[in-house]
């Protein structure tokens, strides 16, 4: 989909998707649909940076993403008042496969990955790392928001990333959770998810002058657990509803009426999308325009919340509602207003949600011109 925000957004506007059929025996015994990044593209982007050190695939992607985000900001990455917050479900898991499941390298562990990123950017603070399954990305933004509110840092660089290797593909195949074609979030013919790999970075700053023209703020965020089953979402949507409800109640300026659109999780598994539709109905949000971006990027795990938030921020900036790719006919109980065509519309407030294994849910609100 692209190596910077602009090319990703251009691909979204062109209705292009990164999802393709892959026939790669190093990742799967059978062909599978996914949105993957070519090694040659990563290395081309990384060539000018590469020093003496050997970086893993995920490290290269995270470094490229952070460098690109810094380029467009005046945030000083070497300042003690700047924190790097990393979000990843599986980190450098491909390195564990190369040693047949015997952890040999320190960077197989997330703190080791954190140190590589910290050293590269010469940031004085140990990176904060969140590994909370598929809500990691949204939870990272919520955590960064809380740390900023507490005045601990001036700037927080929030980066989420996961790569796709046989580890994840074989696992989701064993769950029979992968779709046999491009995924169709909220559609009646949806039959599973597509995996995706990607990295995204959002920088939070306390300095209004650094925040760009639209000064988008986070005005609330909450997490919850639906306490139902470790691999099956709630049948009622009560857990996601709790986090959405708490998020809206957090700020006095937050009102249901002001929410212009929802960037949902929408993995396109039967149970997840049904659960989300019930939660949004309980929250009286079923009329709001809603999309899932999984049809473009696939499910990028610990990066998903960040990639989809970057797109949502861009939606607010450019006043563009992106179509929920793969959707044709509503196939969930709640009568959601799924966005069928990408269109221009004046917007100020976006609700972003995520849900994941372990019953976790997260929601966050973005407001323009705060």
């Amino acid at each position: 989909m692209g190596f910077d925000t602009r090319s990703n957004i251009q691909n979204l506007l062109n209705n292009s998707s990164g999802i393709q059929l892959h026939n790669d025996s190093s990742k799967s015994q059978i062909p599978f649909w996914a949105s993957l990044i070519r090694d040659s593209d990563i290395n081309a982007g990384f060539n000018e940076i590469q020093g003496d050190e050997d970086f893993s695939r995920l490290e290269k992607l995270m470094i490229l993403s952070i460098k690109d985000a810094l380029k467009n900001s005046d945030v000083e990455v070497t300042s003690p008042k700047t924190l790097i917050l990393l979000s990843s479900a599986k980190g450098n898991i491909d390195l564990l496969e190369k040693t047949s499941g015997k952890p040999k390298e320190n960077r197989v562990y997330l703190p080791g990955l954190g140190r590589v990123i910290q050293d590269f950017f010469k940031n004085p603070n140990t990176p904060l790392i969140i590994s909370n399954g598929c809500i990691s990305g949204v939870l990272s933004l919520i955590t960064a928001f809380r740390l900023m509110q507490a005045g601990v840092y001036d700037n927080i660089i929030v980066t989420g990333g996961d790569i796709i290797s046989e580890f994840t593909v074989s696992g989701f195949q064993s769950f029979k959770a992968l779709s046999d074609g491009p995924c169709k979030p909220f559609d009646k013919n949806r039959n599973g998810l597509n995996l995706g790999e990607g990295v995204a970075t959002i920088i939070l700053t306390a300095n209004k002058g650094s925040a760009g023209k639209h000064k988008i703020q986070i005005t609330g965020g909450a997490t919850s657990n639906d306490a139902n089953h470790i691999s099956g979402p709630s049948r009622t949507g009560d857990g996601l509803f709790i986090s959405v409800n708490k998020t809206i109640k957090e700020g006095k300026e937050n009102h249901i009426e002001n929410i212009d659109f929802i960037s949902a999780h929408g993995t396109a598994t039967v149970y997840n999308d049904e659960m989300e539709s019930l939660a949004f109905t309980t929250a009286k949000l079923e009329d709001k325009p809603i999309n899932s971006l999984k049809g473009y990027f696939g499910h990028t795990l610990g990066a998903a919340g960040l990639i989809e938030s970057v797109v949502s921020l861009q939606s607010l900036r450019d006043n563009v509602l992106f179509a929920s790719k793969g959707f044709e006919t509503i196939g969930v109980t709640g009568n959601l207003n799924v966005i069928e065509k990408t269109e221009k519309r004046e917007m100020e407030v976006c609700l972003k949600t995520a849900s994941g294994f372990g019953g976790c849910n997260a929601a966050i609100l973005f407001k323009k011109n705060g």
């Binding site: 015994q29 499941g101 197989v108 562990y109 909370n132 997490t223 657990n225 306490a227």
Partner: protein
Amino acid sequence: MAVMRPFYLKRMDKSFITGYNIIRNNYVISPNQEKVRSEEDVDFPEFIKALYQRYKIDYPKFYKMDNLCKLAFISSEILLKETGLKQKYSDEAIGIVLCNSSASIDSDCKHVESFVDKANYYPSPSIFVYTLPNIAIGEICIRNSIKGENALFVFEKFEVEFSVNYLKNLLDTGKAEACIGGWIEYSEEGFESFLFSVERKDKLEPNQAIVPFSTEEIRKLYLKN
């Protein structure tokens, strides 16, 4: 609830430690009892199963859990039994915020072993689902119907100050009325669990023996052995 050092209620203290336990090196420490030590040289599966029996827990799902979840689960059972936290608060008022170093490395390795040898290829959802450290939080939530804030942070070692500040923020801003915090770690190198409960002052009973919730107090408890 038995002895935790009495203290003077300072006006600025808003939240308090109301329980804790430590499980490591084949022993358990909690305020309600003497240190419980098992036989030397017992391996983890046997040790944790012995605790399951000792505390008379009846929850067959325990046997399906991976080692990290078994450890966190037993620790949470002891904590919740000793504090009665669940009886005092609504489902969504209790948060769980845990830290860990090796994420889910034990289950990660088992999952890799299930697919590296193509002649013996057996990836299974019952292993794969445990390749996320936050599943341990999920297991505690499912057992107790806890629906509040969740977070799992990964640090080289237990960052007491960060944990305390994060939890204080949840309690002070009303995002939670009570929280379970702590450290759960399982890898080939060893295991350790330290869970504690913290509650807001306005939710405590008048004569409850408690200690102020601070970095210093949590560090003191964590260093007990």
